[in-house]
């Protein structure tokens, strides 16, 4: 399986994401500069964390109107797994691939520590390696991770079963404790916490590895025929 990590000016978790796939998962992965990117040959798209375009205007806003996002939208429509973490989630919200928006953290502080996430769905291509209700330790690192959507959108998220991760102890004011959501089709996941920083016990937690393994397993079930 071949992963693309999209690198924008200001991305800073691209190497962590690369490391998680290459060394944690053991699959093929490229760092792909956003300009003139050709995503045709990739089986999964990873939008890493950081501060694309210095968070100018709004987090993720300027990256969301770059050309590479048109390709990512087409890949997403075709069913390719797209994972946006932190700034990657903000970019997915700004493009409209996922509903809602990010506000400044309720207490205005940039927060960087482990949080306990509750796995709300274990039937997505990103979370089949977890069990529903499982609590996992994943670090957060953000100043604008306060998920906001209006009442109608929240209701829709619940109805369509799009809430994948919630915070056990909401750190930032996110509505309904939301830490991660998927699109209706289930192949675009956005989350503020960083699973790519939790793929080795040596560094504190390996609870994020199952996410990458889930994506790989899904891909194998879809495309690899065994005789």
């Amino acid at each position: 399986m071949k992963f693309a990590v999209i690198v924008f000016p200001g991305s800073n978790c691209d190497r962590d994401m690369y490391h998680a796939v290459k060394d944690g998962l053991g699959e093929e992965v490229d760092l792909v500069w956003y300009e003139n990117a050709n995503l045709a040959d990739y089986d999964a798209i990873l939008l890493p964390g950081g501060f694309s375009y210095g968070d100018y205007l709004r987090s993720g806003a300027i990256a969301s109107v770059s050309n590479v996002l048109n390709q990512i939208k087409l890949k997403a429509e075709a069913g390719t797994p797209v994972l946006g973490v932190c700034n990657g989630f903000q970019i997915l919200l700004e493009t409209g691939l996922l509903p809602g928006a990010m506000l400044r953290n309720e207490k205005l502080k940039f927060m960087c520590h482990y949080e306990t996430l509750v796995v709300e769905r274990d039937d997505t291509m990103f979370t089949s390696g977890y069990e529903k209700g499982q609590q996992i330790q994943i670090p957060i690192a953000h100043g604008e991770g306060n998920y906001y959507c209006d009442d109608a959108t929240l209701e829709e998220l619940k109805q369509n079963n799009q809430i994948v991760f919630t915070y056990k102890n909401n750190p930032n004011g996110s509505r309904f404790d939301i830490a991660g959501i998927v699109n209706k089709a289930g192949n675009v996941l956005g989350m503020m916490p960083h699973p790519e920083r939790a793929v080795e016990d040596l560094l504190g937690s390996s609870d994020g590895l199952a996410m990458f393994q889930s994506v790989l397993q899904h891909w194998r079930e879809m495309y690899v025929t065994t005789s």
Binding site: L57, R58, A61, I62, V65, L93, E94, P99, G100, A101, L103, R104, N105, E106, K107, L108, N146, Y148, C149, D150, G173
Partner: protein, 83 residues
């Protein structure tokens, strides 16, 4: 040229943690009556005289400058600006 001044603020009802912090600082510094403080963005630009400002500004705001999920915008236009 036309000079366009665009003001973007969080929608009413959307929590504005920055506005709240600014308000509390003002109240603690001798302005106890300050209420409903909102922090927003101000963007200015020029467009050619023949531009359809209403249409262009609306498209710019919807596409990039404002996020309709949480923000709203207004603008003013000054005509006949010399470059």
């Amino acid at each position: 040229m036309k000079k366009v001044k665009i003001f973007i603020t969080l929608k009413e009802g959307v929590l504005d943690p920055q506005g709240k912090a600014v308000q509390e600082a003002l109240q603690a510094n001798g302005f106890p009556d300050v209420a409903e403080t909102r922090v927003g963005k101000y963007i200015e630009m020029t467009l050619p005289d023949e531009a359809d400002v209403a249409l262009e500004v609306q498209r710019m705001c919807d596409k990039l400058l404002a996020n309709p999920v949480m923000e709203e915008y207004s603008y003013t236009v000054e005509e006949g600006i010399r470059s």
